[in-house]
Structure formats: C-alpha cells, structure tokens
C-alpha cells in the first residue's frame, strides 16, 4: 500500500468524510496541480459562501481533480480488494459522470444526476462526487436542481464543509418573491444536517414563521424538528417559534406545527390552551396526516384538562355488583382495598356534584366524530382511540362500526386494528358484540390475523352468544393450520373458564379432541383440559383416567408433563391408575424431556406421600435416576424432594409438612387475555402494539381529580381574529357551505323575521326533551366556526367574491332541484342578519364575526350553547365587549324578551301537548281509554261504557264492519278512535260499536281465526258475553298493521254464527300525531329528501281555502298534528307511523286562487304515496 492509499483510507475508516474529501482533493492538488497552492484551495472550501468562489472552485479544484483521478486511482484498483471496498472501486466509473456534470449542457448534467440518484437509490456510495455535484446547486434546470437537492440532503452530513458551498444559494432562495421557491429553499436548507449552519437555520425558520404565505409557514413548522434534532440547545428559541405558529389560523400549518410541538416540547401542554378550540374547529379541514397528529395530541391534552366522564359509571359498577357480572371481566376486579377506597371517595364526590362535561371536552368529541368517515385508516384509528380514552361510556360505541370497516383493508391494517379491537373488547365488550360475525375467520386469512380474530371472539363471548361462537370454533378446530388450531383450543379453554354454563360442554369437546390424529392438537387440548380440570376435579375422574391412558401415545413434552401433573395432583381420584403410570414413567425416565422428568419426580413424591405402600420403591428408583441426571435442575429437585419426603434423622421440621407442601390445594389458573390491561398504553400507538414502551412515547396521563381552570382556553376575541387569513387557507367546501347559506338566506327572506323569534325558544325546548337536538346544534355551530373564516376570505379577495357570486347563482339554480338543508337554517338566519348588518353599517370585520358567533350562541339551546365553538365564558367576554363597543343595545334586549315570552308559550306546549291539534285528540284521554278496556273486561253495563269510548267527534269517520242484514240483525261499525292503544303502543286502536237489532240476545261476541299478513298482530277485544236485543255495545281492539294498509281478516263470532270480516285502515290512520317545533320539522324534512319526498300540485276546493279548513281536512284524512308555522301560507303537519315510528311530514303551501302544493316526506315511500292521494282527495273535494 502506498502512502497515498493510507492517507485515503484512514479517514474513511474514521468515518470522517469531510477529511476524506479534503485530503483527497488536497492530495490531488498537490499531485496534479502544483500551480494552485493548497492554502488558497482550502480557503476556498471554508469560506466559500460567495458565488465567485464557487466559480473559482469549478475552475480549479474539481477540474483538476477530474483529470487527476485516473492516474491516482490506478494503483488503488490493484491494491484495492480489501479495506474500503466499494469506495475504492467505484470512482473510476465516476469520471464520466464528473465530466458530464461539468459540461455546459443541461441534458448531460441531467443524465449524470439521474445516474447518481440511481446509485444512491441502490445504496451505492456516491459521496466522492460531492464537489462535482454541489456546483450545480444553482443550475437553472429545475430537474437537475431537484436531483442535486436529493444528493445534497443525502451526503451533506458526511461532507459538511463542502455542503456549506450551497448555503448561499438557499439563502438567496429564502428571499425569493415566489412562495414555492422560498419554501423549497427552506426545506432543503433545513434538511442539510450541518451543525455550523444552525444559526442560519434558526434565522431562516424565524423569518419563515412570519411569512405571508401559509405554505412557507408550514415549511417552517417542518423545519423545526429538523433543527431540534441537529441542535437541542435551540429548544427554547424553537418553542417560541412553535408558540407563534400554533396561533396560526390556517389549516395548512396546523398539522405541521402540532407535529413540531410533539417532537420538540410535548410536555408544554400549556401552549395548547389558547389554541385548543381553534384546533378542534379546524381539525376537519386539516390534511389527513396532520389530523392524526393533532388528534393524538388532543387526546393527551384532554386527559390533563377534563374530568373523567365515566366517573359516575365507575361508581355504579362499584355499587351494583350485579351490573358488574353482566359486563364480565369489565374492570379492576383485583383492585386492592386502598384503590377501592379512593375510587369510592371519588365516586362519592361525583355523587355530591353531578358530572357535567366541560363544553370544550364536548367540542373535541363532536368535531372528531365525522373523521371516523375518513378514508385514511390512521385517522379513523386516531379518532377511535380518542373516543375510547375520552368519551363517556355510552358514546364510545360509535367507533365500532368504523373499526369493523377497517377490517376489510390491507392485512397490515387489519393486524393493527385487530390488536386494538382486542384491547377495547375487554373493557367495552358490548360495543363490538353486534359485529361478532365480522370477526369470523376465513381459511384464507393469514395466521396472525386468525389468531387476533380468535382473541376478539373470545373476548366477546358471553352467555348469550357462546353457543354460536363455540359452533364457529368447531369449524376452526378442523383447520389445516395447526398453529391456529392450537390457538382455538386455548380460546375454548378461556371461554370455558369465563362462562361456567358451557364449561362441561367445552370440556367434553376438548376430551373428544384427545383422540385427534394430530399430536399437536391433542397436546394443546391436554394442557387446556388440565387447566379446566383444576376448577372441579372431583367431577371428572373419568377424564383423568382417560388422560392417563394417553401417556402411552402422546409424545409432546408439555402435554406429557401436564398429564403427569394432573395424575399426581388428583391421585386420590385415580388411586389404581396412578401408581401404574408412575411405573411406566420410571421405565422411560431417562428418555424423557427435562420438563417431563420434573413432573415424574413430582408425581413420585405425591404418590409416595399418599400411597407409600405401593410406590415407595418406585419413588426411590426414580429419585435415584434423577440423582444422576445430566440436568442440574433435575438433580437438585431430586435431592430436595428426597429430603422432604423421606424422613431421616437429619431432615428437619420441614418433612413434617411435606404433605402440606405437596398436596396443598392449588388455586385454579385464571385464563386471561394477553390484551388485558394493555389499554394503559394509548391505543393505536406503537407502544400499545408492542406492549412495551417505545422511545419517545408520551404516557397517557390519568384523569385529574379536579378539573383545572377551564378559562385558560378562553381566547381574547381580537387575538383570534387578528390575523387576516389568506384565501388559500379556507377549504373549498366550507366556503361553499357558507355560500349556500348566504344564498339560502336570500331565498328564505320573507320567512326569516317570523322564525327568528321562534327559533331560540323552541330550540331550548329541544334540549330538554329531544336528544336529537344535539346533532343539530353541533352541525350548526361547526358551520358557524368555518363560516366566520369564509367571511374573512371573502373580504380578502375581490375576485373570489365575484366567483362566489357566480356560484351562488348556480347554487340558486340548483336550489330548484334540491331542497334546502334545513339544519343550516338557524345559523343561516343569524349569519344572514350578520351580513345585513355588515352591509348597513360596514362595521369592522372584527366585530362582525364576533357578533356572528355571538348570535350563533344565542340561537343555540342552552346546552348546545355551552358546547358550541366558544364557551359560555367566552361568550360573556364577548358580550361585555360588545356592550363596551356600544353596539345598539336594543337587539339583544329584544331577543331576551322574546325568549322569555317564548319560554312561557313553550311551557304551555309542554304541559298541554295535544293542544296544537285539538281536533285530533279529544279531551278524554289515555286514562279513560285504558280504563274502558279494563272495565270492559269486567263487562259492566253498556250504558256506562258507551259515552266513555265513543269520542263524539265529527272528525272520526265510521266504517261498516258487518251489515245488519248479513249479520242477521247484528250490525257492527268501527272507527279509528285515534287514541293510543294502551296495551300495546304499536297498535292502532279500533273502536267497534255493536248494535243488536235482532229480536233475540246475542251472546259471546268475540273474535276468532285471525288471518294476518306476516308481522301484523291483533289484540282482541274482551269477549262481550251478552248483548241484549236492541242494545248497543262498544269495544276497542288493537291492530298492528305493520305500517301497511293490508286488511286484518278475522271472524266475528257470536254464540250461533261466525262472520268473516276485515278491517282495512285508511293510510291516514296508520300514524299518530307527534309534536314538532318548526325547526325540528325543517330539520327532519331536510333528511327526508329525494325518494322520500313526494310533491303534488293541486287546486284547493272552494270551501277549503282558509287555513282552518285545510287544517281540518288534513287532520281528518290523517292522524297528524299541526306544526306551528310562522307563515300563514303554509300548513305543516307531523306524525309518526304507529309501528315503526317513521316520521310523516306533510306540508300544504297555498298560493293565489286556490293553487296549492302538497308535500309529503316519509321514509316509507308507500305510505307517503298513499297519503298524498288521500290528502289530495280531502283537499280537492
């Protein structure tokens, strides 16, 4: 080896690449270009931040180097072989590349760069080309430039000093007017891992963090962790930048900055407070990868800031043990006393102070829920874990469906999801039970998936579904995949221990498996049976006997050991067989596996203690064999046992207790899921998957005992709106929705003034009575959140506005086809007003959106108000601010008063629910009705009955069931009393009036031989024992028509005759009225569009042109209740079908000259169509 070689190789071995190149170049220079002094050359390397010097380098350093290489490498090629390997042999080929890179043609440069990148991709070393490549960093050709960047990022770390040459290019790029160039310069600059440039990077990041372009700011956020990993000293400065970027309002930045936060300062949870609500509201528009990071971070945040929503439940579980058993292995069974006490205390506290969810907590849950629909499995999983860790027990269920959907994805996704489902299914079994079948196993599943599914199935097993699960297991046992069969047997064992009802069945099944041909199956069964037998050995001595026989055949050590242990443990159950087994074992002792030998010794010891007469010699023999065994464990055991069981003078007090030691009652093993308690790791995390803490894992904190101050999350209004978001930040769809809103406002204008007064109070009624209002208000507030942003964006660019207007027009057109979404109406109204105000006063935008959100809040119900975008306290702040700004005060006042007024009317409504539809529900209500049926059973005299049953209402139409003539004097009429049928709410009450116009009495009037369509049911009226001649009697029967107009056929029997009769309901009788507010009505109507909506134009009957008449005719035709409506041009009615409870909504909109439009919205399309026909008829005739 030449000295030169050594010089070249040493640095390589020392992994100091910088030196390599330097010395290399230096060497070349000394060798080949004596003209250039080494000194001047080196200076060029170090301070080469000027483009001039770059040129200098090009002409001098590498140009010479290129030529010098060949001669220099020649000896290397010969001597090469060992040492540096690739490094030495490659450079020869690189000469052409260098030449190409030095040429003036971009195409040559490109070709060279492509080849270099291909080398990098294959993992070949191309570091010696660094000088030649780095010169091209300022190349005009974009592709060359990009590839140079690729190269630079790859090798800069190894060639730090040379890399410095490129810095000035990037620094110039940072000042470029084009945001994309700025961003890309920052990206590459921050990717060069050269410590010297840390200050430059810091400066660049700081500048970029306040760049106008959100894209550049995003890049700055990406650069933060890069700089941090390069130099952790910068942490404090970086945190400042993070803090600044966290306040950014654009979706583009949000994901990246949270990622930076997680990597640099995850412990600084306090930085999140002010941005919490913003992050929640932006979340849905952040790109998918950012969503995952944000959701995971917010999960941790929520755990530190909010109270455990299940605190009351844990109290319940603690108190009612019945509940606990129902949920099986639910929680903390083996909790120690102390913890229990603590829990009880907490529970007691909770009892004193009922749990109220922090509105911010609710906000998070609500805003993450739609993301369960993401196409990205990671996002779905992130939301799922958030719900699992944060949501009240009752709400966690929503994630099950989405997780089950993921099971259809790639097998890797399945693998991870199943792991998490397995953990979840232990704590929340009920959640996945409906999806049991989705976990059934196919023979084509990979084994690891099979085993995980099996785990889930086992976790889901309970008394009700165990039989189906066991039937599935039976199929699995026959599988060709033996690992899977073994896992199945284990699973059966676990089911058997957990569910005592099936223990015997399982045991029998397993015993049958003992005769399986596959040894692995038998062995696994033996092991599981052993565990099961331990629970109740006395019952199963025959199984033990059977297993004893197996020792002749089974060779699997674990199984043999298990059998021996069983026989030893329960030798009193098999007194005759046990010694014989020991005899056989003694014979084969030397050939057994260690684990079996140990059990033989155990067996011998136990037998010696119980039955020393027969086994003394055998035991001694075995112990002697063991004494000379190769394995020291076995020798030890033998020595130890001999001392214990064979009393000698030397053996101490212990031998007295030998029996106790060996024959102590052993507790049955608890077969537990390996996934038990894994949920102390945050689900979906790597640590959870590995069941071990991974580096950088942030523990999921426990819930705080008392909630920290929620006001920290309050944001001063002006800071929130300070930044003018650029147009790019607004996701297209939000703009659209707000546009829609605006447009709809215009459409709805005449209606608006009326509805405003109503919307507030009626909504608050919802919050008390109707659970559905939750979702409504949620969509409302979310909309408003994004709405404010879009307002801003509108301001931001004129052209955008024009475009929007165009679109608005189109939207209007569209309007004709599509019914407007009712949910949006409230926020629309408020924001419309906003807009108007804005137009009138041209107020500063700040106050605009402020008041917008304010308004939103007021229009929301109480509960949803507190949950909405801004918390109450914030609203208060705002209110104060508003008054301070001396906004026209009458408005809120007016609202307030309206609210009060409305609340009163609401009370009315609540108390007298049927009030709005007086024709429909007559005054004699449920009680009397049920009383009637009861009394009828007692067959009181008719005179008492009839007035109570027959509601003397003109609205009720009577139908003939049996004519006097065909009935031979008995005539029956029936009407639909429109009263709830108390024995069964799903039935329509049919009131029958029997008139006996014959001369003789009729006896034993009753129903027989009911013939019904499937699903229909009839509740007969109690038999009328006697109907004297000339008398009239009334009875009520209930028929469940299953929401169809199929007739109910039956026989009406008297003591002498039978009459075939049938009752066919008009479609209007298949429903019962429900009370809806106008808003609810509109919301529901919005969900029943398309096929569920039928519209018909009609001309009203001359007598029916006033509102009253319409209402009367409609309610006569159908059992509906009137929905209050602001407009006098519209009458609305609502009802639900009796059986399925599907909503039926009817709208009659009148126009001039008796023209009208009838709209029926109903999920049941058949009912809808028929109803349209009936009402049409009622209104036109």
């Amino acid at each position: 080896m030449t000295a030169m070689q050594k010089l070249l190789q040493l640095p390589v071995n020392a992994v100091n690449m910088v030196k390599t190149v330097q010395s290399q170049v230096q060497g070349q220079e000394e060798d080949k270009s004596p003209v250039l002094t080494p000194d001047s050359g080196q200076q060029a390397w170090y301070s080469a931040l000027q483009p001039d010097e770059l040129r200098h380098l090009r002409s001098g350093g590498t140009g010479g180097g290129g030529g010098g290489d060949q001669e220099e490498r020649a000896p290397l090629e010969e001597g090469g072989g060992g040492g540096g390997g690739g490094f030495q042999t490659q450079p020869l080929r690189h000469d052409d590349l260098k030449e190409m890179l030095d040429s003036n043609k971009d195409s040559l440069k490109l070709e060279a760069m492509k080849r270099i990148v291909a080398m990098i991709a294959r993992g070949k070393n191309a570091s010696d080309l660094f000088p030649a490549v780095v010169k091209n960093v300022a190349c005009k050709n974009i592709e060359v430039k990009k590839l140079v960047y690729v190269y630079l990022v790859r090798y800069a770390e190894e060639q730090q000093d040379l890399a410095l040459l490129s810095i000035s290019t990037f620094q110039r790029g940072l000042k470029d007017p084009n945001q994309l160039i700025r961003a890309s310069a920052l990206r590459v600059l921050s990717s060069i891992r050269v410590t010297i440039i840390v200050p430059i990077m810091m400066l660049a990041i700081k500048e970029a963090a306040s760049d106008m372009s959100p894209y550049v700011r995003k890049t700055a956020a990406h650069a933060i962790p890069k700089l941090y990993s390069l130099d952790p000293e910068q942490k404090d400065q970086l945190i400042e930048v993070i803090e600044k970027l966290l306040a950014d309002k654009t979706t583009l930045v949000a994901g990246s900055v949270v990622m930076a936060f997680e990597e640099v300062c995850p412990e600084r949870i306090d930085l999140i407070h002010k941005n919490y609500r913003k992050l929640c509201n932006l979340l849905i528009d952040v790109e998918e990868w950012g969503q995952v990071v944000i959701i995971n971070m917010l999960t941790r945040y929520a755990r530190t800031q909010f109270l455990n929503p299940n605190i009351n439940e844990s109290l319940l579980e603690e108190g009612g043990s019945g509940d606990k058993t129902f949920y099986g292995s639910d929680e903390d069974e083996d909790e120690d006393e102390e913890e229990k006490e603590k829990k009880a205390e907490a529970a007691a506290m909770a009892k004193r102070k009922p749990y109220v969810m922090d509105p911010d907590h609710r906000l998070l849950l609500r805003n993450t829920k739609p993301l369960l629909q993401s196409r990205n499995a990671a996002v779905v999983m992130a939301v799922a874990q958030l719900y699992f860790h944060l949501a009240p027990k009752a709400e966690v269920g929503v994630i099950a469906k989405a997780l089950v959907r993921l099971l259809r994805s790639h097998s890797e996704v399945q693998y991870v999801v199943l792991q998490n489902v397995a953990t979840m299914s232990i704590k929340r079994r009920g959640m996945f039970e409906p999806y049991l079948k989705s976990f059934y196993i196919r023979s084509t599943d990979p084994t690891q998936i099979k085993v995980l599914k099996l785990e889930v199935l086992t976790n889901l097993a309970n008394e009700t579904n165990i039989s189906t699960i066991l039937r599935e297991f039976q199929t699995y046992i026959k599988s060709m995949d033996k690992d899977f069969v073994a896992a199945t047997i284990q699973a059966i064992g676990r089911c058997a221990t957990n569910i005592s009802e099936v223990r015997d069945t399982c045991l029998n099944g397993l015993v049958q498996l003992l005769s399986n041909r596959d040894e692995l199956v038998v062995a696994e069964s033996v092991v599981v049976i052993k565990k099961l037998l331990q629970m109740q050995p006395e019952k199963h001595s025959d199984i033990i006997k059977h297993m004893a026989k197996l020792t002749d055949n089974i060779q699997v050590p674990m199984a043999r050991a298990s059998i021996l242990w069983l026989i030893g443990e329960y030798c009193e159950h098999v007194p005759k067989i046990a010694p014989d087994v020991l005899r056989k074992m003694a014979k084969s002792f030397t050939n057994e596996e260690d684990i079996v030998k140990l059990q033989i010794i155990n067996l011998a010891a136990k037998l010696y203690l119980t039955n020393s007469k027969q086994t003394k010699l055998l035991t001694q023999y075995v112990l002697n064999l063991a004494k000379y065994d190769q394995n020291y464990d076995i020798r030890d055991r033998a020595r130890f046992i001999r001392q214990l069981i064979v009393p000698t003078e030397k053996s101490g007090a212990l031998s007295k207790y030998a029996k106790k030691l060996f024959l102590a009652l052993k507790p049955a093993p608890v077969l537990e899921s390996p996934f038990k308690d894994r949920d102390h790791f945050q689900l979906g995390s790597l640590s959870h998957l590995l069941n071990a803490k991974a580096g950088g894992y942030q523990e999921l904190p426990d819930w705080p005992e008392a909630a920290p101050d929620p006001s920290v999350r309050n944001v001063e209004v002006f800071t929130l709106l300070e930044r003018v978001t650029t147009l790019t930040s607004v996701p297209e769809w939000t703009k659209c929705s707000s546009r829609e809103k605006r447009k709809e406002k215009k459409v709805e204008k005449p209606f608006y003034t009326d509805s405003e007064g109503e919307s507030g109070p009626t909504e608050s009624a919802d919050s008390e009575s109707d659970s559905a209002s939750g979702s409504e208000s949620s969509s409302g507030s979310e909309e408003s959140g994004s709405g404010s942003e879009s307002e801003e964006s509108k301001e931001a660019s004129e052209s955008e506005e024009e475009e929007e207007e165009e679109e608005e027009e189109q939207k209007k057109k569209k309007k004709k086809d599509l019914k407007k979404p009712v949910q949006e109406s409230e926020s629309e109204q408020s924001s419309e007003e906003e807009e108007r105000k804005h137009q009138r006063k041209s107020k500063p935008r700040k106050s605009e959106s402020e008041s917008e959100s304010d308004e939103d809040e007021e229009s929301e119900s109480e509960s949803s108000q507190s949950e909405s975008e801004d918390s109450e306290s914030e609203a208060e702040v705002k209110k104060k601010k508003k008054t301070a700004e001396s906004k026209p005060p009458p408005k809120p006042l007016k609202k307030e008063s309206k609210k009060e007024k409305k609340e009163m009317s609401l009370l009315d409504l609540d108390d007298f629910e049927p009030a709005p539809s007086p024709q429909v529900t007559p005054v004699n209500t449920f009680l009397s009705n049920s009383l009637v049926t009861d009394l009828e059973g007692l067959s009181l005299s008719d005179s008492v009955l009839s007035p109570a049953t027959i509601a003397p209402s003109s609205a009720l139409k009577s139908y003939e069931l049996l004519h006097r003539i065909t009935g031979e004097g008995l005539s029956v009429e029936y009407c639909f009393s429109r009263q709830p049928f108390s024995p069964d709410a799903n039935m329509v009450a049919v009131q029958m009036q029997f008139t006996n116009s014959a001369s003789s009495d009729t006896k034993n009037l009753h129903i027989e031989d009911v013939k019904l369509q499937s699903g229909m049911r009839v509740k007969e009226f109690p038999e009328i024992e006697l109907l004297p001649a000339g008398e009239t009697a009334t009875a009520v029967m209930g028929i469940d028509f299953c929401d169809s107009t199929q007739a109910a056929n039956f026989q009406l029997c008297t003591h002498t005759r039978k009459f075939f009769v049938s009752i066919q309901p008009p479609v209007g009788e298949l429903m019962r009225p429900v009370f809806l507010t106008e808003n609810e009505f509109k919301k529901e109507q919005g969900q029943l569009m398309g096929m569920n909506e039928i519209t018909e134009k009609l001309t009203l009957d001359v007598k029916c042109r006033n509102e009253h008449a319409i209402v009367q005719r409609v309610t006569t035709a159908a059992n509906l209740s009137r929905v209050p409506c602001g407009s006098d041009k519209e009458c609305r009615f609502a009802g639900r079908t009796v059986t399925s409870g599907s909503l039926v909504l009817v709208t009659v909109a009148t126009k001039e000259e008796g023209a009208a439009q009838l709209t029926v919205n109903c999920e049941k399309m058949v009912i809808g169509t028929m109803l349209v026909k009936d009402i049409l008829q009622a209104l036109t005739q």
Binding site: E143, V150, K814, K819
Partner: protein, 432 residues
C-alpha cells in the same frame, strides 16, 4: 484542517426514518433515507422474521429491534420496509406505505420491482416530495403529478431528443390550493365522468348451505375528466342503505350528513370517491348456492368430489366469470374429474384445484365430479377444504344501491356521464 467532528448518535424524533424496498428474494433494491443514513443491515431482523413466517403474508407488520422499529407492508410481491426510531402510530406508517405503493401504481401502472428499478429517478423524486423529514408532505396524486410527471413513451422520446425533463416546469400550485386534490387549469375536449359502483360480497357459507356471515363491501371508483372546476353532486335512489361510509377528502361531509347527497369537486383523473360497508347485521343476498360433497375414503386411498353450483338470488342477472378455487389437503396427489361446463386444473405442487366455469346457465347447472387420488399410507385429512368462489354480475349492485342522478355545477359545458354497476364475490367462502 478542521477538527475531527464526531458524529454523535442522538435520539432523533421523527416519523419515518428510512425506507427499504425488498423483493421476494430478499434483495434490497431501493433505499431512501430522510435523515441520517441507517445501514441496511437493520433489515437482517426483518429477514429473520421473513424466514420464520412461511408465507410472506404472515410476517408481522411491526418488528422490534434493539435500536429501531421496523414497519413493513407486503404489496405486489414487494416488501416496503420502513425504519422508525420512536413512538409513532403504526397505522400512520402502514397507511403511508400503502399510499406510496398506490402512487407507484398510479404512476407506472403497476407496482413491481422491474417498474421501480426502471423508473428509479422518478421514484426517488416522488419519495422526496411525499415525505419531508419523515413526515408526509404531499400525498395527493394530483399534486404530485403536477410536480413530477408520470412517464409516458411519447414524452420520454421527446425528452431524449430535446433534453426535456420529467419535472414540471411550472411550480406546483396544488399544495397551495384550498382543494389540494385537484390540479388547476384542467382542460379536456371530451368532458366525461364515469363512476363504477363495485360491490364485493364477503360471505361464509357453511356445509349445510346456511349463510354464517355475509357483508358487502362497496366502492365507487371514479374516472373524471372534466375541464375547469366542476362541482358535482351525486344522489342516490336509496341512500339509507349506506350507513357506514368513508369518503375521499373532496366529499363535503356535512352535505352528506344533512341531505345524503355526495357533493364534491373531484380530483382530476382516477380516484376512489367513496367506500361503504354493509355489515352482517343486514340481510345480504347470496347470488349462488353450492352443493358439494367432498369425501376421502380410509381404504383405497382415494376421495370423491362432487360440486354443483346454481343461481340463488341473482336479481335476474347472469352470473359470469364463475370460478371455484379449492385448496386441497397435502395428501391429494391428483384429481381425475369431469366438468359439465368449463375447465378445471389441478396444480400438484400448490395443491390448488381451480375450476373455471364462466357463465352460469340456470337451465343446466355446472357440475364437477370425479375422484381424487391420494397419497397412500398417509392418514386422511380430517378437514375438508373450503371452496372459494369467484363471480361477477354485471349491471347490478347486489345491495340495491342506485345512483339516481349526477349534476354538475360550476362549469357550463355538458359532460358525458356514466355509471356502471358490478357485483363481485369478495372473500366468498363455502365451508365443506
């Protein structure tokens, strides 16, 4: 001379550190590092696990090594292996790797070793753009295509002649846009939008013919070639069928929530608009029934096989491309069968019996029967192999889903619109 700089290995927090692409022979033919280089010897742990698992499918997707974690996916006979050092949601990485594979597929038509090696520069450029410092940056194919043009023959010819390049000359605006999935300035002479509604039936049918579980996995794939910024609205006849859905990010979720209408500005080109899942709680129509008897005789070392397939609930459509695949037990040496329709093949080495039937004729039901010759001296297999059914029904979505209309707003031209329905068998298994 500069002082010797010691490269300190520090705890580095980032998501994906390095990516290795490995072919089925275990050769690493592509590597990319987003941070400091990690030696490829780290893959040895993976190879070890690969050895242990008999099937490539059985390699655990997540492996732990002393200093790193390896997360891998298996796609198209290739392993994409990512190296990470710290806590990261595993699904995050898995999903990203699949997105990488999807992008390759999208760019090159397939995702195979040869195609990746041939286009290694584009692959590298793509990877560079998709991940910044281990964190996903641009994963939308429309954005990527704006920056890095997919290869096509014409352009590569032109490029070699003129020295042009694959990299877009214009700067990518997509990343800045509020609708990152759509590139700007799209122009077509023929404006068309096609939607394929494909439903796959996943079912397990037991020996007696009763359905153990059945689900439908539906997907609406779109190929939209529309100029400008069209705003589409798709409505369904019976949207209530869809209770579990996932959307492309372009779909306005709230519109769906309130009106059950898909409203979206589509990406340009091919994309998956929506997937839906109709779970086993609902009733799922099973299009065919299978009558089968497979038995192995203890004596004589032979077995009998008799399979008949008939239509069950086909909604009046023809069942096509019917195929039965049986994974026979090891002991089956050969099959001597006669098929009343179609052909059958038995691969001795893989033990795979494939019966390709084709169209199902309801008048004359296809039948396959005959004997199986077994290895002598080997105990009979106790489990009968299960049958995997493949089938296709054109012009039918078995769930009954129907698109009622598709409207376009935002542009003035009249696009050509088309919807196609196909029902296929997914994981359709008949136990015997």
């Amino acid at each position: 001379m500069t002082p010797c700089r010691v490269n300190v290995k520090r705890w580095q927090a980032e998501m994906i550190h390095s990516l290795f692409v490995i072919n089925h022979l275990g050769d690493i033919f592509l590597e990319k590092h987003w941070k400091s280089v990690i030696s490829r010897s780290v893959c040895d742990y993976f190879f070890e696990a690969r050895e242990k698992a008999v099937d490539p499918e059985n390699v655990p997707p997540v492996l732990q090594t002393p200093h790193h974690y390896l997360i891998s996916i298996y796609r198209g006979k290739l392993f994409f292996l990512s190296v990470i050092q710290t806590e990261v949601p595993p699904l995050f990485v898995i999903e990203f790797l699949h997105r990488v594979a999807d992008t390759f597929q999208d760019y090159f038509g397939e995702c195979s070793e040869s195609v990746i090696s041939d286009n290694v520069v584009i692959v590298y450029e793509l990877l560079e753009e998709m991940l910044d410092n281990g964190f996903p940056l641009a994963t939308e194919s429309n954005v990527l295509k704006e920056m890095i043009r997919p290869p096509n023959i014409l352009r590569s010819v032109v490029n070699t002649l003129t020295g042009g390049s694959n990299v877009g000359e214009t700067l990518p605006q997509g990343q800045l846009s509020n609708i990152p999935w759509r590139r700007a300035g799209v122009k077509y002479t023929n404006n068309e939008a096609y939607f394929d509604v494909t439903e796959e039936i996943d079912a397990i049918v037991d020996k007696s013919g009763t359905t153990v579980s059945a689900e439908i996995q539906g997907v609406i794939e779109a190929c939209v070639k529309l100029s400008g910024m069209p705003d589409l609205t798709m409505s369904f006849m019976n949207p209530r069928l869809l209770d579990d859905v996932s959307f492309h990010p372009c779909v306005r979720f709230r519109r769906w929530e309130s009106e059950r209408v898909l409203s979206f500005i589509p990406p340009d080109g091919n994309f998956t608009l929506m997937t839906y899942h109709i779970s086993s709680q609902n009733l799922v129509a099973i299009p065919v029934y299978v009558k089968q008897s497979i038995s192995f005789f203890e004596a004589g070392s032979c077995g009998r096989l008799d399979i008949t397939i008939g239509p069950k609930q086909t909604m009046g459509k023809t069942v096509e491309d019917l195929k039965v695949t049986v994974h026979m037990p090891k002991a089956v040496l050969n099959a001597n069968l006669t098929a009343s329709q179609g052909n059958y093949t038995y691969d001795f080495t893989t033990k795979l019996l494939v019966w390709d039937i084709g169209k199902l004729n309801p008048q004359k039901l296809p039948n396959l029967r005959g004997s199986l010759s077994m290895q002598t001296g080997v105990p009979n297999p106790e489990e009968n192999p299960s049958l995997n059914i493949d089938l296709k029904i054109q012009q039918l979505a078995i769930s009954g889903l129907k698109v009622s209309r598709l409207d376009m707003y935002g542009e003035t031209y009249k696009p050509f619109k088309g919807v196609k329905y196909v029902t296929k068998a997914g994981k359709f298994q008949v136990r015997t």
